[in-house]
């Protein structure tokens, strides 16, 4: 049992989502995070052990390696993506056991903008960090975003824009949330090449995230506050 969790942790560190993936160490073969997570469930390993001792413990090592400049962003993303896939497998079991994720995060590229690389990276990192992430897509109209917030009640709303023209839509969304009396129900975080801390203040967003790592730090800080 312990060996299985240890292998899960190691595969998270190596960023191997499935048995087809290559990790950093060529000698590591066999099942990846997805297969090991399924095996753990079959062997009745507790959800707490899978998440805390396998997935989270692995991500902690990845974070340490990243801070020590031993790992780069692609390594971090590979590991986060692997954890994200594991969380998808665990989701129904968590719901059945009434165990919640860290929070629900809806992420979207605003109307008029189709750029999504940054958004996707943020989504992977947040999911890997234990948040439930719902990707609303690209070029999404403001009223659809407001409807989603009203109906699905996410804890956090992440708005992404690359262009100086589309960044202005972020302010419109915040105003629309206010009009719908939903602004206090959700924390709004913004990011993307065009925006800044100053712009976040101007439009009344709760936070500006320079990158996905900062998004994780800010969300974790809300939980600790």
């Amino acid at each position: 049992m312990n060996d299985l969790i240890e292998r899960l942790k190691e595969n998270v560190i190596q960023g191997r989502m499935t048995s087809d993936d290559e990790g950093i160490d060529d000698t590591l073969t066999g099942p990846g995070v997805v297969e090991l997570t399924r095996m753990a469930l079959e062997q009745k390993v507790t959800l707490k052990d899978i998440i805390a001792e396998g997935l989270t413990a692995g991500m902690e090592v990845v974070g340490e390696k990243f801070n020590a400049k031993e790992y780069y962003v692609p390594d971090m993303l590979a590991s986060a993506e692997a954890v994200s896939s594991a969380m998808d497998i665990l989701k129904p079991h968590l719901e059945a056991a009434d165990l919640a994720a860290k929070g629900k995060f809806a992420i979207v590229t605003v109307k008029g903008d189709i750029h999504d690389i940054g958004k996707n990276i943020v989504a992977i990192l947040l999911k890997g960090a234990g948040y439930e992430v719902v990707d609303l897509g690209i070029d999404v109209p403001t009223d659809r975003i407001v409807d989603y917030v009203r109906d699905k009640k996410p804890d956090y709303l992440g708005l992404s824009a690359l262009l100086t023209t589309t960044m202005l839509v972020m302010g419109d969304i915040i105003e629309a949330l206010k009009t719908a009396d939903l602004r206090d129900s959700v924390k709004v975080l913004i990011g993307g090449a065009a925006v800044s801390q100053e712009f976040a203040r101007e439009i009344g967003a709760d936070a500006y995230c320079a990158d996905g790592f900062e998004a994780v730090r800010i969300l974790d800080s809300y939980r600790q506050a």
Binding site: G15, I24, P74, D75, N120
Partner: protein, 522 residues
């Protein structure tokens, strides 16, 4: 029974499609013009031995002994030049104390080796001064200050030591003129060679200050290499000889030295350094025809002296500066001439010694970066085998800055990466198609996870190593820190027994260079 491990030469970088400026017909035109020059007007020769050797080999040699200074006119027929080209080895190996640092140069293969620069008188120290930012005095800014001083043998040791640890550097030309009080013309060569050889395990090349020092230098090399035959197999040192002064003059003393070097079979660069506009015609066709004639004359002499002497076709053409009439190494024409010369050397199949990266700037900075990168990239693309690429050299080869050498190493890493051969074949395309299909089936549609293996295999160009934060340019500070780290790494010195023999058998060595007796040179 122990099996001898065959040394693996350094890789350098192979340029699959060398950049060439001349058409095949233009190369032949230059060749014919050079042969014409060698016949008429021929060369002025101030060395009697060379005149005799040329005469005996069939050249038309006439005496002008009543002229001042007395000299000979040597007119070299095409037959003799063709024989010289034919006899010159087409593959030249330059060995090294660590045989894995050997350089194997084939005249028809554009494998580029990056080598340091030539002798400088001035060593440039770097200090950092701290200033407060005008708009925010709490923010401190480090500004480099460059202080020049005369180079010493301790500096040469440090330069060789640094060179040992610069990854892109394949060989070492001694680049500091040692000007200590106890260095004289009679002991300079042995000391500069020992200081270099004891601080780097890469190939060492230098010019000869005094012919009287040739045999002691060869003896030293034999002791280190393990004997005369071992030195033949692994020539850990080579020499560079500017036997021809432009335009078209065999200099007496360097020609004498060249003949003696050839007799001993030591690899030697036949180097010519005309300046377009003053010592050579300003037009491209003119300087090329002349420099080619000068180098071919030297190579021909070398093969007359000792058939099979390993020679490099050495070319250092420059354009004259119209404001001072000094060499303008930073001029774009200088790079053009140099690239053309590399093509000429390849035409003859003889390995080429070439120059790039020399800057007119006096200190590290923007001019220095622009000038050196321009020529380093373009000349390297032309595929010279032995590229004197001026690591750390400034002010037209008169100043050496170790900080600049560290910066150059980073730039050469980029250039080497740029020159890599693209890999596009069925296997590669098959992998890529699989990858694209797989990524397109994922929600994120990102290829990021595939970077990782490529990243660690060394196939990706590295990030610029001296990148500062977003607000500040910290290139000099970071390069300086890196330099200190490299100098803190040890170098394997010549072993105790060989050092003892060298100091016992070779006169003139400074006792402070013997690290087993007096500590490292100071």
């Amino acid at each position: 029974m122990s099996k001898e491990v065959k040394p693996v030469p350094r890789e350098g970088i192979v340029v699959e499609k060398p950049y060439e400026r001349l058409t095949g017909e233009q190369v032949k035109t230059i060749h014919r013009a050079s042969l014409e020059i060698l016949r008429d007007p021929g060369l002025v020769c101030f060395n009697g031995r060379a005149a005799d050797l040329f005469a005996a080999a069939g050249a038309d040699v006439s005496s002008a002994q009543k002229s001042s200074p007395p000299h000979w006119i040597v007119r070299i027929p095409e037959r003799l030049v063709s024989e010289g080209i034919e006899k010159a080895p087409k593959t030249v190996t330059l060995g090294a104390r660590n045989p894995d640092n050997a350089l194997v140069m084939k005249g028809d293969e554009a494998r580029v080796y990056f080598i340091t620069g030539s002798e400088t008188n001035i060593w440039l120290d770097t200090y950092f001064q701290t200033y407060g930012k005008k708009t925010d005095p709490t923010v401190e800014i480090e500004v480099p200050e460059f202080i020049p001083r005369r180079g010493t043998i301790a500096d040469l040791c440090m330069s060789a030591h640094l060179s040992e640890h610069l990854d892109t550097l394949d060989g070492f030309i001694r680049n500091v003129n040692i000007q200590d009080r106890d260095i004289t013309e009679k002991n300079k060569d042995v000391n500069k060679f020992f200081a270099s050889l004891n601080n780097t395990t890469k190939h060492v090349q230098a010019g000869l200050t005094s012919l009287s020092q040739l045999d002691p230098v060869v003896k030293m090399a034999e002791i280190i290499a393990g004997g005369r035959d071992a030195l033949k197999r692994n020539p850990i040192v080579s020499l560079i000889c500017c036997l021809i002064k432009s335009p078209l003059q065999f200099v007496d003393d360097t020609t004498e030295a060249f003949i003696e070097i050839c007799l001993r079979g030591i690899p030697v660069v036949v180097s010519s350094a005309p300046q377009a506009g003053s010592t050579a015609p300003i037009k491209e066709a003119g300087i090329l025809a002349q420099i080619n004639a000068e180098v071919l004359a030297g190579i021909t002499l070398g093969q007359i002296v000792n058939e099979g002497t390993p020679v490099l076709y050495g070319t250092v053409p420059t354009k004259t500066r119209i404001d001072t009439l000094s060499d303008s190494y930073g001029a774009v024409e200088t790079s053009q001439y140099t690239i053309d010369c590399t093509q000429l050397a390849r035409f003859y199949g003889i390995p080429n010694y070439s120059t790039s990266g020399v800057s007119d700037a006096r200190v590290p900075g923007q001019q220095s970066s622009v000038e050196r990168l321009f020529s380093n990239i373009t000349v390297a693309m032309s595929g010279p085998q032995f590229l004197h690429c001026a690591y750390g050299l400034l002010d037209c080869n008169s100043v050496f800055s170790p900080l600049q050498a560290v910066l150059d190493d980073a730039h050469f890493a980029m250039i080497k990466h740029f020159l890599r051969t693209p890999r596009i074949d069925d296997g590669e395309i098959g992998d890529i198609l699989t990858q694209i299909r797989k990524v397109m089936s994922t929600p994120q549609k990102l290829f990021i996870s595939y970077i990782r293996k490529v990243m660690r295999s060394g196939l990706l160009s590295p990030l610029y190593p001296f990148e500062g934060n977003r607000e500040q340019d910290r290139v000099f500070e970071l390069a300086f820190e890196h330099m200190k780290a490299l100098l803190a790494k040890p170098v394997e010195p010549v072993d105790r027994e060989k050092t003892r023999r060298i100091f016992d058998e070779i006169p003139g060595l400074l006792p402070r260079l013997n690290i087993y007796e007096e500590g490292r040179g100071s």
